[in-house]
Symmetry: C2
Subunit: 139 residues, 2 copies
Amino acid sequence: MRDVSTAASSLVEEFFSSLKWNSDELIPVIIQDDENGDVLMFAWMNEMALRQTLWTGLVTFWSRSRQELWVKGETSRHFQTLKSIAVDCDEDCLLIRVIQEGVACHELYRSCFFRSISTDGTIRLNQDRPDLSGIVTRS
Amino acid sequence: MRDVSTAASSLVEEFFSSLKWNSDELIPVIIQDDENGDVLMFAWMNEMALRQTLWTGLVTFWSRSRQELWVKGETSRHFQTLKSIAVDCDEDCLLIRVIQEGVACHELYRSCFFRSISTDGTIRLNQDRPDLSGIVTRS
């Protein structure tokens, strides 16, 4: 008889094997603010990044530019704590809800999607930079 | 002196040229429900799909499997009407808010992200299929 942790581990492995990784062994990930539903950012994970996210509870991506694991917030301290992971119908995209410490964007906006385009081509800011004086800021 | 439409057109061209398309000339697109902020689906656009989306107000993707333009809802009548387009800090991902007619998912859930995974590997439904009897359903 398998114990509970073995059964759980088996389920996690089943989940991993069901995912459709792209030709670079990556899966696209949408990060959503668990507090208000705002979409914060978009990035990529490889299998190790997803495992590490599950193990540690801190969202970890694969940096395509640096070709290394990237714990979101490791430099800025603007960590993302895992709340939930949803997978889409085609099993080729993840939607991860997080508690966002500080801001998601390296330009110090709460969300990376801080600019909107109108049909006439005008680009406008759709948010202000929050006051970060109360928390540890980017080092 | 340029007239307004020429200036607008120029701004749109500037926006298009600022986007970073991938090696397949595609950009990832997150579709968000303008009514409640739910993330509905994830897909890809090429330049023509994005232009058609702006011109027609109906969200149009590039189908990677069929290698053709794909007006979302052209078969199911579950159209997505464009509300706004945001671009991320790296200019390599779009966040599009829509008015969703019916359901976004071909499995007839409102959102394609209808399954969540727990840390123990259990997968559960996070939504019910809506009653579609009041609208035109998938043909």
